[in-house]
C-alpha cells in the first residue's frame, strides 16, 4: 500500500466512498420525497433537504474531528463517553421533549438532539473496551454478565423513553458476542424462540404444541434411544410447550392494543389497511409501483403526495423504490451490504482486539438498521421506527452514525501501529 501522508494516511477509501455515496443519495432522495414546486431549491434552508445539507456538512466536520483525534483516545475514554451518554439518557427522561410519543429529545432552541442515537456508538465503545481488556477472561461468570449489563442499561433507558425501535437495536450487539465466542447455540436458541413465538401467534397454541411433539418424536427415531436422551427430549418438549403457552398469554394480557395490532399486521392476520396496516401498505404501493427503472427523479407520486408517512425519515427507502425502481433499490441494498461486509473484513484485519470488536459492533448496528428499516418498507418486518443509516433525514442519527463509522475508520487507519 502506498504510504499516505498526514491525517488521511491509511484511511480506507472504500469505506469513505460508501459513506459519501449513501449520504449523498440520502440527501437527493429526501429532496425528492418532500419536494414541492414552491421550494424547489435543494438548498432551501426552510425545507428538510436544505437542513439535511447542513447536517451532512457538520457530520463531515465531526468525521474529520474523529480522524484527527488520537486513535487511543476512544479506547481510553470508552467508559467516560459511555457514562456521559447514560447520564444524558437518564436526563432526557426528566427534561426531554416528547415528539411523536417518545420522550427522547433535548430541545435547545430550534435544535433537537436525540441522545439515544449517540448511545449506540458509546455502548459499542464500552463493550469493545471491556471485551478487549487484557485481563478479560471469558470463562468467568462476571465476564459473561458485564457485557450484557453494558448493553442492557442503555436499552432499558431508551425503552423508558418509549422508543422501542431504538432499544431493540441493542440486540444486534449479540453478533459481537457471537464473534467473541458466545456459543452459536445461544444464537440458535434465540432463533428457535423467535420461530416458536411467530408460530404461537399465528396458529392455535395446541396445534403448535402438537407440531413440536411430532417433530420431536420423529427426532427420537434418529438418535440413540437412551433413557437420558429420551428424558432430554421430553424436557425440551415441556419447555417448548410452556414457552408457546406463555407467549400466547403474554400477547393477550401484557401487550397493549397498538402493539398487538402491529404484530398482527406483520403476521398477515390483520388486513386493516386504514389503521395500522396503512403505512406498510402505502409503503409497498410506493415501492412496488416503481417498476424496474422507477418513475424518475422527482416523479414519484406516492411519496411526494404524502401517501407514504414519514417519507423523509423512516420510509425514505420508498422514494428510492418509487423513483429509481428496482435498479435504484438494488444499488442501495448492494451499497449497504458492501459497507457491512467491508467493515467485517476490515475488522478481521485489525491487530487490536478493541478495533476488531468495535468494528463488529459497527457492522452489527448498521446492518440491523438496514435489516429492520428496509424490511419494514417492503412488508417483511414490523413497523419499527428506526432510521436508515446515512439516508434518513435527521441530524442526530446522521451525526451519530458518522461518528460510529469514523471511529472505526480511525482505528483501522491506525492498525499498523503497535498496539
Amino acid at each position: 500500500m502506498k504510504e499516505q501522508k498526514g491525517i488521511f494516511r491509511n484511511i480506507d477509501r472504500t469505506l469513505v466512498f460508501l459513506f459519501l455515496a449513501l449520504v449523498l443519495m440520502g440527501w437527493v432522495n429526501i429532496y425528492a420525497a418532500v419536494y414541492d414546486t414552491e421550494h424547489s431549491s435543494i438548498l432551501d434552508m426552510s425545507q428538510s433537504y436544505g437542513k439535511q445539507l447542513l447536517w451532512i456538512l457538520t457530520a463531515l466536520v465531526l468525521g474529520l474531528m474523529v480522524i484527527i483525534t488520537d486513535a487511543k483516545f476512544f479506547n481510553a475514554f470508552a467508559y467516560p463517553i459511555y457514562g456521559i451518554t447514560i447520564f444524558l439518557l437518564v436526563m432526557v427522561l426528566f427534561v426531554g421533549k416528547e415528539i411523536a410519543g417518545s420522550k427522547s429529545w433535548f430541545q435547545v432552541g430550534s435544535f433537537a438532539l436525540q441522545p439515544a442515537e449517540f448511545a449506540k456508538f458509546a455502548t459499542n465503545l464500552a463493550l469493545a473496551h471491556y471485551l478487549s481488556a487484557l485481563d478479560f477472561d471469558k470463562r468467568k461468570r462476571s465476564s459473561q454478565l458485564i457485557p450484557l449489563v453494558i448493553i442492557v442499561i442503555p436499552a432499558v433507558l431508551i425503552l423508558l423513553q418509549n422508543d422501542t425501535g431504538s432499544a431493540i437495536v441493542y440486540a444486534s450487539l449479540s453478533l459481537v458476542m457471537y464473534r467473541q465466542g458466545m456459543p452459536g447455540s445461544v444464537l440458535l436458541l434465540g432463533l428457535t424462540l423467535m420461530i416458536l413465538t411467530i408460530m404461537a401467534l399465528l396458529f392455535d397454541q395446541f396445534i403448535v404444541i402438537a407440531v413440536i411433539a411430532s417433530l420431536l418424536i420423529l427426532f427420537v427415531f434418529f438418535i440413540r434411544r437412551t433413557l437420558r436422551n429420551i428424558l432430554s427430549v421430553i424436557g425440551i418438549f415441556l419447555i417448548a410447550s410452556l414457552f408457546v403457552l406463555s407467549v400466547d398469554y403474554a400477547f393477550d394480557n401484557i401487550l397493549e392494543q397498538h402493539q398487538k395490532t402491529r404484530i398482527n399486521v406483520l403476521l398477515g392476520k390483520d388486513f386493516d389497511l386504514k389503521g395500522a396496516g396503512y403505512n406498510v401498505n402505502q409503503s409497498k404501493i410506493a415501492i412496488g409501483s416503481g417498476g424496474f427503472w422507477g418513475k424518475g427523479f422527482l416523479k414519484g407520486t406516492q411519496t411526494k403526495f404524502n401517501f407514504v408517512p414519514e417519507q423523509s425519515t423512516d420510509f425514505i427507502f420508498c422514494t428510492v423504490g418509487e423513483e429509481w425502481g428496482f435498479v435504484g433499490a438494488f444499488v442501495v441494498i448492494v451499497l449497504f451490504i458492501a459497507l457491512c461486509v467491508r467493515i467485517i473484513l476490515i475488522a478481521e484485519r485489525q491487530r487490536s482486539e478493541f478495533s476488531r470488536i468495535y468494528g463488529y459492533g459497527v457492522a452489527s448496528i448498521l446492518f440491523f438498521h438496514f435489516f429492520v428499516n428496509i424490511g419494514m418498507t417492503i412488508g417483511l418486518m414490523p413497523v419499527i421506527g428506526i432510521p436508515l443509516p446515512f439516508f434518513s433525514y435527521g441530524g442526530s442519527s446522521l451525526w451519530a452514525f458518522t461518528i460510529l463509522l469514523f471511529i472505526f475508520i480511525k482505528q483501522d487507519s491506525n492498525r499498523l501501529q503497535l498496539v
Binding site: 457471537y178 404501493i285 404524502n306 473484513l345 482486539e353
Partner: protein, 605 residues
C-alpha cells in the same frame, strides 16, 4: 490471540448479511416487477379520472332564436373506498341533508362500486359549489364534477323539444358509451338527435395528494382527451308562432301543428295543456315529473303525434279526391241533400240541393260526401267492395293517413285506417258494404288521425299532390345541408287537377258566401281550409280545422284540434286563422278574436 479461533465466524456473519440482502432483492423484484397490483394501487391513490362532459348542442328556431341552452351546475362525486376521516356533519350542513340522507347516499354509491366514482349529490348550484370547493380538501374521497343543465329561455315547445334524464341500467348495457349518472334524451328532439347533440365525453387525468387536493395533471395531460361539444340543431320552428300558439291554446285541450308545405319543416308543434320545459330540469325534475304524470288532464301526453282523433269533416276532401281520381264523380257531379232529413246521414246545414263538390266542401255537406263514398264503394271497375275499399285505402295511405310519417319525433302514432281484413273479421267476408262503413265518408267511425297527419294532409293538398315528411330539424351543426327529410318526397296517388278541385272548395270555406269559416277570412291573404266537428265517444264534439295559405303560393299548412269544444268553426277555425295571420304578417290585427280565443277556458267543457 484467543479469539482468533472464532475468526471463521465472520463467514457465518457475512453469509447472513449477504443472504438477507439477497432475500430483500428477491422481495423487491417481486413487488416491483412481478406483482403489478402495486402500480394499480398507486394509480388509484393518485389519479382521478375526471370525465369532461361536453356541452350539449344548442337548439335554435328558424330565425336564429335560442330555444335551448346550457347552464353550468356541479355534481359532488364520491369514491367510497377513498372516503377517509371525513367530517360527515360538515357535509350534511353544506348540502342541507340529514345524517340518514348521508348514509343512504353512501350506501347507494357503495352498492354501485366502492372503487368507482358515483354522484353523491347532483346539480349543486354555483353558490353551494363555492362553499364546498373551499372545504373539499378535507373531504377525502369526494370531488366535484362540472355538468350542464338544459335551460329554455322562452319556456315553450315542451313536447317538441322533449327532455333529458339519467340513463337507465338497460340503456347503459345497450350503449356502453353511457355511464351511470349520464344524461340522455328521453323524448322529443332531445331523444331523436341524442347522438348529434350529446357530443363526445373527454377524460382528464388529474393527480391528487393524500388530502385529495388537486396537484396537477398526470404526465402533463398526455393521456387527456378533450370533450367534443355536441352539434347545435337548427330547427324550422318559428319560436314566435309557437309562443303565440301556446298562448291561444291556454286552458284548452288539443293541439296545433303547422308546417311549411314546401319543405315539410315544422313551424309550430304544440300539445295543450303544455308545461314549462324548465320544470323537467335539474333537481326538481323527479318531483315535477310525478306531478305532471299524475295530472288528469295529461300535460305530458304529446297530442300532436300521440293524440288519435276522428278527423270529422276535415276528412271529406280525401274522399272527394279519391272519387275524382277513381272517376266515380267529376267536378260537375251533383248529389242531392235533404238537409236534416237526409238518410242515412243527416246534414247539419241548410243549403241548395243538389250541390256539387265545391259547394259540398264549402258547406260541409254530409249527404254529398256519403254519396261520393257510396259511389267509390260501388265502383263497377272492381269486382267487390273489398277490392274497392283497398283501392280507397291505398289512396289515403299515399296521403299519409294510417301510417307514421317517419318524422324526427319519437313515439309518433299511426292513427287508424283499418285494412279491409278488419271489416271481414267484424262483419264476415262479403257481409259488409258502403252502408256498413258509411261513417268513413265523413271522417268518423274507424278512421283516426293525429294532428300531424292532418296537417301533412293539408300540406299535400297545398302542394297539389306531394309532401315532405314533417320534421323539426332543418340542419345540424356547421353542416348547412338540410337533413335527410328534404329529399324524401312523398307523392300522393291523386292527380293535381283533382286536387285543384278541393283547393277551390277549401278556398270557398273562407271566401264563399256560405263558407263555414267565412267569419275568419283575412282580406290580404287567400286561405283554404276545412272545418271539422268530430263526434267523440264522450258525447262532446272536438273542434277541428285544417288550412293552408296563401292558396297561390302556400307557405304554411296548419291543423288545429280543440278537444270537446264544439263546432270546428267556433274554435279551431279562428285559432288557425289567427296563426296564419301571425305567421304570414307577423302581426295580428283581429284583436277581438284573438282576445276571445286566448281568454276562453274550455278545460271543463
Amino acid at each position: 490471540m484467543a479469539s482468533r479461533i472464532y475468526a471463521d465466524r465472520k463467514i457465518v456473519i457475512i453469509t447472513t448479511f449477504v443472504a438477507i440482502g439477497f432475500i430483500y432483492l428477491v422481495r423487491l423484484f417481486y413487488i416491483q416487477i412481478i406483482d403489478r397490483s402495486y402500480t394499480l394501487s398507486a394509480n388509484n391513490n393518485v389519479l382521478r379520472y375526471v370525465t369532461q362532459f361536453p356541452a350539449r348542442g344548442l337548439i335554435y328556431d328558424r330565425n336564429g332564436k335560442l330555444l335551448v341552452y346550457n347552464e353550468a351546475v356541479y355534481d359532488l362525486m364520491v369514491i367510497p373506498r377513498q372516503v377517509f376521516d371525513v367530517d360527515t356533519a360538515e357535509i350534511c350542513r353544506l348540502l342541507d341533508i340529514s345524517v340518514e340522507g348521508f348514509n343512504e347516499r353512501m350506501k347507494k354509491a357503495r352498492d354501485y362500486s366502492p372503487m368507482l366514482a358515483s354522484a353523491f349529490e347532483k346539480q349543486i348550484s354555483k353558490e353551494t359549489y363555492g362553499y364546498i370547493e373551499e372545504k373539499l380538501y378535507r373531504f377525502r374521497g369526494f370531488f366535484v364534477q362540472p355538468r350542464t343543465l338544459r335551460k329554455y329561455p322562452m319556456s315553450i315547445g315542451a313536447h317538441l323539444l322533449g327532455y333529458i334524464g339519467e340513463v337507465t341500467p338497460g340503456q347503459i348495457e345497450k350503449k356502453p358509451y353511457y355511464k351511470q349518472g349520464d344524461y340522455i334524451g328521453i323524448n322529443g328532439i332531445e331523444r331523436a338527435y341524442e347522438d348529434e347533440m350529446r357530443g363526445v365525453k373527454g377524460l382528464k387525468i388529474r393527480m391528487v395528494d393524500v388530502f385529495n387536493r388537486d396537484v396537477g395533471s398526470f404526465e402533463n395531460g398526455r393521456y387527456d382527451t378533450a370533450a367534443v361539444m355536441g352539434s347545435d340543431l337548427y330547427t324550422g320552428i318559428d319560436a314566435d308562432l309557437q309562443e303565440y300558439g301556446e298562448k291561444l291554446m291556454a286552458n284548452k285541450r288539443g293541439s296545433i301543428v303547422a308546417i311549411d308545405p314546401r319543405t315539410g319543416e315544422i313551424l309550430c308543434f304544440l300539445s295543450s295543456p303544455a308545461y314549462d320545459p324548465n320544470l323537467l330540469v335539474g333537481r326538481v325534475r323527479g318531483k315535477n315529473f310525478a306531478l305532471l304524470n299524475n295530472d288528469p288532464i295529461k300535460p305530458l301526453l304529446n297530442r300532436a303525434i300521440m293524440g288519435q282523433y276522428p278527423p270529422g269533416s276535415t276528412f271529406k276532401m280525401a274522399n272527394d279526391m279519391v272519387g275524382l281520381q277513381m272517376g266515380v264523380i267529376t267536378k260537375e257531379t251533383r248529389f242531392s241533400c235533404q238537409g236534416p232529413a237526409s238518410s242515412p246521414i243527416k246534414c247539419t246545414h241548410n243549403h241548395m240541393s243538389p250541390l256539387d263538390v265545391y259547394m259540398a266542401i264549402q258547406q260541409s255537406c254530409n249527404p254529398f260526401h256519403w254519396q261520393v263514398f257510396r259511389a267509390i264503394m260501388n265502383d263497377p271497375d272492381y269486382e267487390n267492395v273489398k277490392a274497392r275499399y283497398d283501392v280507397w285505402r291505398n289512396h289515403l295511405l299515399s296521403m299519409g293517413f294510417g301510417r307514421t310519417l317517419n318524422t324526427d319525433l319519437a313515439f309518433e302514432l299511426k292513427g287508424n285506417l283499418p285494412p279491409s281484413e278488419v271489416f271481414d273479421k267484424i262483419y264476415g267476408k262479403g257481409h259488409w258494404n258502403a252502408m256498413t262503413i258509411r261513417s268513413l265518408s265523413i271522417g268518423q267511425g274507424e278512421v283516426l288521425t293525429t294532428p300531424l297527419q292532418l296537417v301533412n294532409y293539408a300540406s299535400m293538398v297545398a302542394n297539389k299532390g306531394y309532401f315532405y315528411p314533417p320534421h323539426v330539424v332543418r340542419s345540424i351543426g356547421n353542416d348547412r345541408n338540410k337533413t335527410k327529410f328534404a329529399t324524401q318526397k312523398n307523392v300522393a296517388t291523386i292527380d293535381p287537377e283533382y286536387i285543384d278541385v278541393v283547393i277551390q272548395g277549401m278556398t270557398e270555406v273562407f271566401e264563399g258566401s256560405h263558407g263555414t269559416a267565412r267569419a275568419y277570412k283575412i282580406d290580404s291573404i287567400t286561405m283554404a281550409g276545412k272545418t271539422g266537428t268530430a263526434q267523440t265517444s264522450s258525447g262532446k264534439d272536438n273542434s277541428n280545422f285544417i288550412a293552408f295559405a296563401p292558396v297561390e303560393n302556400p307557405k304554411i299548412a296548419i291543423c288545429v284540434i280543440v278537444e270537446e269544444a264544439g263546432y270546428g268553426a267556433t274554435w279551431a277555425a279562428p285559432i288557425a286563422s289567427l296563426m296564419i295571420e301571425k305567421y304570414l304578417t307577423r302581426k295580428v290585427k283581429r284583436k277581438q278574436i284573438e282576445e276571445n280565443m286566448i281568454n276562453a277556458n274550455l278545460l271543463n267543457n
